[in-house]
């Protein structure tokens, strides 16, 4: 039987506000335990939450970026359950009336036949909520430690429609959201620190069937690689069960990256009754058209629009434009390079090629690149104006990466300037013809393959600095004489 996979994702993006969603405590990561938790975060008796307006603005920003309906009236609700790192015994979230309603975005990914594919994915809703603290079980023998620094950190929970049909689509969707929240500067996207997390709802059904199969919810998918592996392994598990005559149980399953397996956390029967009800400590959030327009005015150019502009203005192909607009930082770097270099295609090749390779190799982020965009642009300009060849440029780039200065400094210090003086080149060529009479004779007799030999000799004599096109032309002429 042919099976179809159905996937919906719930993404938790930690909003990059400087203070918490309902208190004035700082949100910075990595502070000593419980040093960033005030009376409100500790859930002391008598304390009350006050909504952080910046978190609301960030949620609106996201909503606008996915063309979603922004609710003029949304409500915070209490999600009640007991857990030691949940100080109040309830999480303030949104339930029936979320701030962001139905929206959509387009994902791009590699299709089944390795061809580029794209697809529209629905976003059911996005709502604001507070994060819980952390329970630490390792360091305390027989006891658990509680760190409430994270308690009250604002989260935007982004819930997709069950529109994805493969792990690849799910990863593409997650990457798209990841890129978007970083473009919008509402989330730092740091997956190691848990700023961007994902749960996946996965089910399978016979191809062509309309009704959905029983789903399981996979937790703890904190990298793009894990989400792909976890979904694939879960799909296999479900198909095995059904093909073996069993039925899939609706449950929450935890992905174990070390063993690459999912295992049951709790079944539907054990699921909590969260007893949601509107939080009487908070007023409903009213958002006017003016509020929305004020936020819209702060929106940056979004990835899809930027990509279209790159194709149009820089003459890039779809794939390259997609790569260069995947992150706002990379796109900004590229635009600066292209502006200085005065050759967008060449700039694109350098940014995607040598630069990206070096960054990858050294594990450096684009924002911390030792070669700045203007430096790289200036170097490419020297290729364009024929001061150096593309081949020599690789040497120059390496020297720049090693901190030897700007392109012009490296070219001067290492004497890498191209020889474009034709009389100098003619003299060198004449010398080569004189020194290699046998090869000249063979070439002239029709062994044209030997042309490369003469180019090599000339490059050797000029230490690679000969302008290749000019050299070729002169060589041809002299050899034919």
């Amino acid at each position: 039987m042919k099976w179809e996979t159905v996937i919906g994702l719930e993404i938790h993006a930690q909003l990059a506000t400087s203070s918490k969603i309902f208190s004035a405590a700082a949100t910075a990561y990595g502070a000593a335990p419980n040093t960033q938790a005030c009376a409100v975060d500790l859930g002391l008796p008598g304390v009350l939450p006050v909504l952080n307006a910046e978190a609301v603005r960030m949620a609106i920003k996201f909503g606008l970026a996915i063309n979603a309906h922004i609710a003029p009236y949304s409500v915070f609700a209490r999600k009640n359950y007991f857990y030691p790192d949940l100080p109040k015994g309830y999480q303030i979230s949104q339930f029936e009336l979320p701030i962001v309603g139905l929206g959509q975005l387009t994902i791009e990914y590699e299709g089944a036949d390795s061809e580029p594919a794209s697809k529209l994915i629905g976003v059911t809703r996005a709502h604001l909520e507070e994060d819980a603290g952390k329970s630490l079980h390792e360091d305390f023998h027989g006891l658990s430690g509680i760190d409430l620094n994270r308690a009250g950190t604002p989260l935007l929970e982004i819930v997709s429609e069950p529109d994805m049909r493969s792990a690849a689509e799910a990863v593409a969707y997650m990457k798209k959201i990841h890129s978007l929240v970083r473009y919008l500067e509402i989330c730092d996207g740091n997956m190691q620190e848990g700023s961007f997390r994902c749960d996946a709802n996965v089910s399978v059904r016979p191809a062509g069937q309309q009704t959905l199969g029983t789903r399981t919810e996979l937790k703890n998918l904190n990298s793009f690689r894990f989400i792909e592996r976890a979904i694939n392994i879960e799909v296999e598990r479900q198909i095995d069960i059904i093909e073996g005559g069993g039925t899939v149980v609706q449950e929450t399953r935890l992905y174990d990256a070390e063993r690459n397996e999912t295992r049951s956390m709790r079944s539907k029967e054990e699921a909590f009754d969260y007893r949601y009800f509107p939080d009487p400590d908070l007023l409903p959030v009213g958002i006017s058209e003016d509020d929305i327009e004020a936020v819209r005015a702060t929106l940056p150019e979004l990835p899809d629009i930027k990509k279209a502009r790159f194709i149009r203005d820089y003459g890039l192909n779809d794939k390259d434009a997609g790569i260069l607009t995947a992150s706002r930082e990379l796109a900004e770097y590229f635009e600066q390079v292209a502006g200085v270099a005065a050759d967008a295609r060449l700039a694109a090749n350098w940014v995607m090629g040598d630069l990206s390779a070096q960054l990858n190799k050294d594990g450096i982020d684009i924002t911390a690149s030792p070669v700045s965009a203007s430096q790289l642009g200036a170097m490419i300009r020297r290729i364009v104006d024929k001061t150096i060849s593309g081949k020599i440029a690789k040497q120059v780039f390496e020297a720049m990466w090693a901190g030897e200065g700007d392109a012009d400094e490296v070219i001067a210090a290492r004497g890498l300037k191209q020889i474009t003086d034709s009389s100098a080149l003619e003299a060198i060529i004449a010398d080569i013809i004189t020194s290699n009479p046998a090869q000249v004779e063979q070439y002239r007799a029709g062994k044209e393959k030997l042309f490369g030999f003469f180019v090599g000799q000339a490059m050797k004599a000029t230490q690679g600095k000969a302008n290749p096109a000019q050299l070729n032309e002169l060589l041809k002429r002299k050899l034919q004489q």
Binding site: L44, P45, G46, V47, P87, K88, G89, Y90, D281, L283
Partner: protein, 484 residues
């Protein structure tokens, strides 16, 4: 000294008739002498009180004093007080020293008032008799062996016995007005949102409101002046200017339209109480008021709706008392579930547990629509009743309670009978309106209260209406015997 009202004490302090330290010492001595009988205080903050009194005396000497500087006051033990045990009447918080001041406490401190101590109350403000307190029941100073009302029964008993010139209370379903009535005091529940709830331990967040419990409307105006105002730490507090509550106290009542709801004078009302209320109404007639019969047709739904909404909110509000970070934790828990179960099972009293159970049930999947949502709709109907009534009248009057103080233990085994003590006060909380109870007579030597209900933010008018009555009657100047 202890017979004086706050404005009289204020005058005495300003004129140097006595110092705040003398006044405070006097009250502390009275507490020591009489409170064994009443049990109205949970904690007496003697040392801190004397230090505050001396600071007040210095401020007065410097000419740096406000009208209330140096006047002692008692706080209901529901208001968090920095460095002082704040128990909320519960074993759960018996060991809880609050690390911060409630806004109300901070406001009184800023006004230079002297905190005498924290008053007894029903556990987590759940009760109408102050019998559910972990610290034992409070006696009504008017008759040993009867209840002072609740939940602010400690504050009411302390003020009635003159163990404090005034005190704070909180009112979720009548917890200021009902004990004020049963102890012969003036109690004011402000409009929801008028007084900050920050630092006031929550029972039912959408209903809770703090307010003053005093001997007179004049004193209530002075205390409300300190307590009222927008607080950026309480999202439900209202950002709206605070009027001068004393300015209009003497305004004329000529032409005042008083609405008398038929529903408040029906079967359950004690006949003698009813007669006393009619007597009070006739005083108002003499002051120039006209009487209008009105209806509040959804009154009978108030108690049932309240006993869904309040427990629902409390079931969630009290989840934080889990033994993890502060408060009571059971000994030797074997695991997390055991810790939760026993800490909460041992830390909470029966009434609190009952309401948590009711509220949890009402919010459960499958029951939410039938209970919580339905109760919220009834709330709207009740508000609409009042809205319609205030189109025709300026104030609504009636009895605060169906009867006078009942005997201790009389209703402890009958929760519904206990809940019905608040039958006339609860609708006001569901609608968020301001209301007062003022002393209006006695039945068999026990005081009773007249309730005044106003439209939103009409506290100045209510205080005016109460004050004019107190100028022509002396019910509020009667003291219980044996506390001289």
């Amino acid at each position: 000294m202890h017979d004086r009202t706050i404005s009289e004490l204020s005058l005495g302090l300003q004129r140097g008739e006595f110092s705040s330290e003398e006044l405070t010492t006097h009250y502390l001595q009275r507490i020591e002498t009489y409170d064994q009988r009443l049990n109205s205080y949970i904690t007496v903050t003697k040392e801190a009180a004397l230090a505050m009194a001396r600071a007040a005396d210095r401020a007065i000497a410097r000419g740096d004093a406000g009208p209330l500087t140096g006047v002692p006051v008692a706080q209901k033990d529901i208001f968090c007080t920095d460095g002082v045990r704040t128990s909320c009447g519960s074993k759960m918080l018996d060991n809880f020293i609050a690390p911060y001041d409630a806004t109300t406490v901070a406001q009184f401190n800023a006004a230079g008032m002297v905190l005498l101590g924290k008053t007894n109350m029903d556990e987590f403000a759940m009760g109408s008799s102050t019998e559910t307190s972990f610290y034992g029941a409070v006696h009504n100073p008017w008759r040993q062996g009867t209840v002072p009302g609740g939940s602010s029964g400690g504050s009411a008993a302390a003020v009635a016995a003159r163990l404090a010139p005034a005190a704070t209370g909180t009112d979720t379903g009548g917890s200021i007005r009902q004990p004020a009535a049963l102890c012969g005091l003036t109690g004011l529940k402000p409009t929801y949102g008028r007084v900050s709830r920050y630092g006031m331990i929550a029972f039912a967040s959408s209903l809770d409101q703090g307010g003053p419990m005093t001997r007179s409307a004049e004193d209530a105006a002075l205390l409300l002046q300190v307590m009222a105002g927008f607080d950026e730490r309480d999202s439900t507090s209202v950002d709206r200017p605070v009027p001068d509550y004393s300015a209009g106290l003497n305004g004329s009542l000529e032409g005042l339209r008083i609405g008398l709801p038929g529903e408040y004078f029906s079967d359950g009302l004690d006949a003698a109480v009813g007669a006393a209320i009619e007597q009070a109404i006739s005083e108002y007639r003499k002051l120039g008021a006209t009487i209008v019969d009105i209806n509040l047709p959804h009154t009978h739904l108030a108690v049932p709706a309240y006993y869904v909404v309040a427990p629902a909110e409390c079931s969630s509000n009290l989840s934080r008392f889990d033994g993890v970070r502060y408060g009571y934790r059971c000994t030797n828990p074997v695991d997390l579930t055991d810790m939760y179960k026993r800490s909460r099972g041992e830390g909470f009293g029966a009434e609190v547990k009952r309401r948590i159970m009711i509220g949890t049930y009402a919010l459960s999947a499958g029951y939410y629509d039938a209970y919580y949502l339905r109760a919220q709709k009834i709330r709207r109907l009740i508000s609409d009743d009042f809205r319609a009534a205030f189109a025709d009248v300026d104030v609504i009057m009636g009895p605060t309670t169906p009867g006078v103080a009942f005997d201790l233990a009389a209703r402890m085994d009958d929760p519904v009978a206990m809940y019905l003590s608040d039958i006339y006060t609860i609708a006001v909380n569901l609608a968020g309106l301001p209301a007062m109870s003022i002393a209006a007579g006695f039945v068999d030597g026990l005081p009773l209260g007249l309730q005044l209900i106003g439209d939103y933010f009409t506290e100045p008018r209510l205080l005016n209406i109460a004050h004019r009555y107190q100028q022509v009657t002396d019910w509020h100047r009667q003291w219980p015997e044996n506390f001289d």
